[in-house]
């Protein structure tokens, strides 16, 4: 609801999205193209709600289920990545080569998730036996600049 990258009427950039979809053996549909474009146009993970708004903005009649399934497919194909927000809503981001490992900032006020490129979790960890590690993610909790209020989370009393 803050992303202003809703490709207004640009049929050309859509090619990149179409190609990605085709390369993965999927059918190029309005929904998928629009979702990929929205994801590509945003530097931050987007929720279903935000994606839905993006689709509505470019006049694509869709319902929640279709969006869910388009996203599911993208995740399945390794095109997008799903991350859990501070609220219990999924957010999605493109899997970009240079962003394999980066941190996410979760605003505990508005629930927004923000990518922090350049931050890498320390990857040297030893898991218990039988555990398989897929990826590590550094999650920072706090308040984003917009919410900016402090002292609302009494459960964290250490400031180190």
């Amino acid at each position: 609801m803050r992303t202003s990258s809703n490709a207004p009427a640009s049929p050309q950039p859509a090619q990149a999205a179409r190609e990605i979809i085709t390369r993965h053996g999927g059918r190029v549909t309005r929904t998928r193209v629009a979702v990929v474009e929205a994801l590509q146009g945003s530097t931050q993970p987007l929720s279903h709600e935000e994606l839905g708004a993006a689709l509505a903005a470019i006049d694509i009649p869709h319902d929640r289920v279709t969006l869910y399934r388009a996203l599911d497919w993208l995740v399945e194909q390794g095109i997008a990545r799903r991350i859990a927000g501070s609220d219990r809503a999924w957010r999605f981001e493109m899997v970009r080569p240079h962003s394999h490992r980066h941190a996410h900032f979760h605003c505990d006020r508005c629930g927004q998730v923000i990518c922090l490129e350049g931050l890498q979790p320390s990857s040297r960890v030893n898991l218990p036996d039988g555990f398989h590690l897929d990826r590590a993610e550094l999650v920072l909790h706090g308040a984003c600049a917009t919410c900016g209020i402090q002292g609302l989370t009494p459960e964290t009393t250490d400031e180190d």
Copy 2:
């Protein structure tokens, strides 16, 4: 549903829980005592479902709402901490002095969350202007020993 620390019939240990609750100016109720005990008795974050099972096991008639509110209060008081699981269910753990910063392993199969003491996220991060950091959490994604299957998440193709 896997925690076997359901204080069967031990009225004594309950004292510790009662004291914690009293110290925070709350009324000592069956539900709160049982929840605190369950949380204290577990080394891993527990979901509402698991907590509910624990309460049922010691014959405390409760409903979901009561449990939710007891948990809310504990989090408000800084007694417990709420963390978002890989599924969209909250998990809770006691806020222990020596566990302020530790990693969480999320099994993407069963959704279970496991604490990994001894692991600390690198805390030196520089956030954008206006951002306020409450706490950092290192989240590891993968499969736990029980699920143990690999290759189910095509979105992660790097194994470094």
